[in-house]
Symmetry: D2
Amino acid sequence: MSDNSFGRLLRVTTFGESHGPAIGCVIDGLPPGIAIAPEDFAHDLARRATGKTRHTSQRREADEVEILSGVYEGVSTGAPVALLVRNTDARSKDYANIAAQFRPGHADYTYWHKYGIRDPRGGGRSSARETTMRVAAGVIAKKWLAQRGVSVRACVSQVADVRPRGFDWSAVEDNPFFWPDAAQVPELEAFMDALRKSGDSAGARVHVQALGVPPGWGEPVYGKLDAEIAAAMMSINAVKGVEIGAGFASVAQKGSEHRDLMAPEGFASNHAGGILGGISSGQAIEVSVAFKPTSSLRLPGATLDTTGAAVEVVTTGRHDPCVGLRAPPICEAMLALVLMDHALRHRAQCGDVGPVHPRVP
Amino acid sequence: MSDNSFGRLLRVTTFGESHGPAIGCVIDGLPPGIAIAPEDFAHDLARRATGKTRHTSQRREADEVEILSGVYEGVSTGAPVALLVRNTDARSKDYANIAAQFRPGHADYTYWHKYGIRDPRGGGRSSARETTMRVAAGVIAKKWLAQRGVSVRACVSQVADVRPRGFDWSAVEDNPFFWPDAAQVPELEAFMDALRKSGDSAGARVHVQALGVPPGWGEPVYGKLDAEIAAAMMSINAVKGVEIGAGFASVAQKGSEHRDLMAPEGFASNHAGGILGGISSGQAIEVSVAFKPTSSLRLPGATLDTTGAAVEVVTTGRHDPCVGLRAPPICEAMLALVLMDHALRHRAQCGDVGPVHPRVP
Amino acid sequence: MSDNSFGRLLRVTTFGESHGPAIGCVIDGLPPGIAIAPEDFAHDLARRATGKTRHTSQRREADEVEILSGVYEGVSTGAPVALLVRNTDARSKDYANIAAQFRPGHADYTYWHKYGIRDPRGGGRSSARETTMRVAAGVIAKKWLAQRGVSVRACVSQVADVRPRGFDWSAVEDNPFFWPDAAQVPELEAFMDALRKSGDSAGARVHVQALGVPPGWGEPVYGKLDAEIAAAMMSINAVKGVEIGAGFASVAQKGSEHRDLMAPEGFASNHAGGILGGISSGQAIEVSVAFKPTSSLRLPGATLDTTGAAVEVVTTGRHDPCVGLRAPPICEAMLALVLMDHALRHRAQCGDVGPVHPRVP
Amino acid sequence: MSDNSFGRLLRVTTFGESHGPAIGCVIDGLPPGIAIAPEDFAHDLARRATGKTRHTSQRREADEVEILSGVYEGVSTGAPVALLVRNTDARSKDYANIAAQFRPGHADYTYWHKYGIRDPRGGGRSSARETTMRVAAGVIAKKWLAQRGVSVRACVSQVADVRPRGFDWSAVEDNPFFWPDAAQVPELEAFMDALRKSGDSAGARVHVQALGVPPGWGEPVYGKLDAEIAAAMMSINAVKGVEIGAGFASVAQKGSEHRDLMAPEGFASNHAGGILGGISSGQAIEVSVAFKPTSSLRLPGATLDTTGAAVEVVTTGRHDPCVGLRAPPICEAMLALVLMDHALRHRAQCGDVGPVHPRVP
């Protein structure tokens, strides 16, 4: 077993290594009748892509998506949709010197222990390059959800110890940091320039939100909507924490403060983050995700080689000084995939994908 | 679909409602040859049980486990092990008055929207009573892991805004709060007494740890060890957040601080929490879990009834003022189940459950 | 892994051994709103039960079903339904002498090799006693299907080399052999009496049919409706072959004979057995299943003991001289479970459980 | 849901349509360390390929396999192995005239009812072209099994009503019919020539065998080795029946004849076909599979168009007059995939992939 698939009824299987010939995915369980075209993927892949600004890795990937199957005359047929992206700017030589060393904070050491063999080129399978296909699959899920009035969006809500002073969703897509306060952007640019020069890296927090989810999606006990969102987010490279709604702040809340009272006009608050007992309540779904600082640094670090000897490693490849800055489209994609999967699961058991009872506005 | 099962190769399916005739589980995929006796379950079930002190719900359950199958002459045979616990102190009348109302912060509203029908007795399937069977299943996983040198343990590391001043694992089992600083126990008792009298409730944070896990358990990408730990913890009632290692604190760390350097003597730190690229590194696995304050309060709260009309609800049943205080055995069980499942998955693909290569001490 | 579960969206997990305290099952994924009462199970369990006539095993089981969960006020809630049947007439002493011997044609030898341990009492987990729970779960599936106009039925269509001369479905439930020709029943009784006296056993063929299945259930490629029916039937104890429609006879057919022509009035024939490309066509689903003769015989047979030494074994317990005679309710149950599972899977992906297009009558 | 994946721990997902840009597969769960090269696939793909002789479809596919992932320096890394085959000789125009008609005996009618949309080019996803990827995946499984002393092989054991007079496995690969009696080949050639001229088609029976399987592979109850073999075979296009060991002949056997007696020298017979209680016994695994005659005929046939009107259809594309003649490599691949999956499942639960106890020779 080696789980490269995600989802139960909407099942995404990804494959490919950072510096192999290609990456790709197979999306199984898609309802028939969804319009899918190669150009649909460009927008979100560009949002995630490296090489756009000086603040991300300088690797430049065209990321052109080829649709290999499952679409006939522009529409999904119910057969699996396979997507392929060729790797075009893979400089394996950057990694030659680290093939016999375990980079600290990377999966080198653990892959080697697990498999006894390791593809060292760009991190191989453990590279965040894999998330390209999550974003591509997410594009289709977003389309399907949009037809049901459900949308997802994400922003960066913390970089190192910088937090937004204001909060305006409309600002998010207008700066390279997915930052919700336009006035702070120069400050962030200065921070990132200094960080890059220092050779060090920084962590980030991403906030993800789904709007329009009807009450009733999610399954009690082990298939809770929040449990599967947590797994989805934690499966993204570099993630170290996930919160739903009030998250860790709920530890210091009183019950009388945390519980969201209800009135005919709606809920009075949303500390639950839109999920009660693992099932959506109809409120916005609110998720917060912690990204650790990139482990690939130009600063030398003590480590071991494969013989067990002490060595010093310096990572000279092209890396992101703050991986979290490219993460919002990935988090959106994962949330969209979880939601669509649960919509189908709900439909299987309960026969619809929307509310059947009177509901709180 | 309605996922009441957990795990891939070690598969636990639970059933039963808070006030139904019984709760139980079926554990499938257990290796043959594990010694299992009815009395094995008593210790952990007592650690989790209500009614022991004035600080938890006064519901008293004997929680006697009957082994229905899969054990012959005291040893597992490879067939599914079914465990049954009869519900003996279920006062349904406590809940009669809330059958037509949605308690704020509970799953009442979402179950009703999902299924159009709801078992209101004690929360039905959404009750934390279900976690009894997680603890029972976890007992077997702990036994199997112990034979391989792996152990799990948990403590409460925050109640409301109270944090441990000292930290001593040996103190944890000697007080009713699973608290790692014995000197603080009187302070916590006073806090809990005041809380109970106020009719309000408090949140808590639980720290869970696994020791002795060899490097190599866990699967890259969607089956990451940390992703499945996150799902396991978030599937526990009242959980709102999960952290691995440095967790949300890693957002404010520099990469040079976060990455754990390695030397022949071992790792220099453990910000990763024992997992790199989704695979265990051989270090201690460190998990932190946020529990929201109990939503069942004696304080009245505004809500709706099933006709959509505004009503005020008061929960008069027997409840825990701080559910997190009973959670450490549940968190341990979930971590043990995830680890054993991954040990079997690793063995399937790679042929062993321990390290095969020279490893960092 | 040890797969004691069946189905994808309607998921049945069974547990229990022939001579253990109980057998049972957990049915997960049931839609809410299905009326379920303990007495629903009596009819089909009696049809399957031993001890009714001299032609089956004389073990007498009350087979009373206790509903442990998932039903509130007589109706399914969407939570898992657990069913329990206590074993009451389990004479373990019958099996004491064979604990160290491998009965030929039984699973004794293979279980021992797989697990290194074996519950010898009545075959333990490998006993056909397990099929009781399949029948119980099937009762619920039949109910749900009946509300959608789908029914299943089965008969015995061959015993040894005796085949029905006439064929009348209405005769099937009026004789102890599920035989479709009433006039042949005395002949079969004489055959069975002679067989029982000889100490030998006979094979049988069971024909199973589903009526009213709409076109569109089933999934292409690996989830084909016929592939899952084949697995379902082959998973029943003693089954050695499965045919869909014309089955093995299609080998000697010409294509012009086999392909079922279509006209506005309907299909001209049904060699396909109601399934094309793995998907139901709207015609009757026709399945034929081969049951081997019981391996438990009073006639002595050469075998080995667990030390590898040659021994002679005689099986003196209570056994069926022709297990196939009790199989029709089991085959019906398995077909009903497969169909309901596929109905839910179809609804998940395509949004309905009936035909949406004009269809052949 | 739409199950285009096969296997539990060794998981093969296929994609692609007959006349789309490509077909491919992703193989997940492969142990690390298996040598895999593009040229490994040529032999079995050629055995399965069309266009080699006048007796099969004249479509000529190069079937060159590109390895997209999961292999580093010639060896599997534990990451998913994706294989891609471009479609090069896809004449869609052959099918233009049947886009609005349902070919009798094909999946046209059922796909249209299921999905409301259908890719008519060469049968789209329902084409046997998909089996190319099964054969490719099977090549890797065969390699892994061979290292453990397990081999699989298959022959055609019946065409229409022609059965082998002699039986010699060494003859099978030396004639275009996978026929085990070399002396009969001219007779078969004459039969096939006449069949092709007639415009009609014929059915076939394939016999598949595995040698060297140790006792202990397979799982009781729903994961029985024979149940999963039955599903695997029935999932191949055109299959209508599956037998294990004596199969349907066991219906007319006495128990004293069917049960395979054991002696220290070994089993006295193999009516069980190498599987008892769903678990391998160490004997040869024997499977027989019925293939219906091809439904694509030059002979006109009555059917409907998508408006429900009666039409006459003639299939003028390039088709096999006896699809079973190309099936042996496909059946071998499926058996190899099931066996390797079960070997891994056995290793997960029981810790090895070979016998641990003294065994019958």
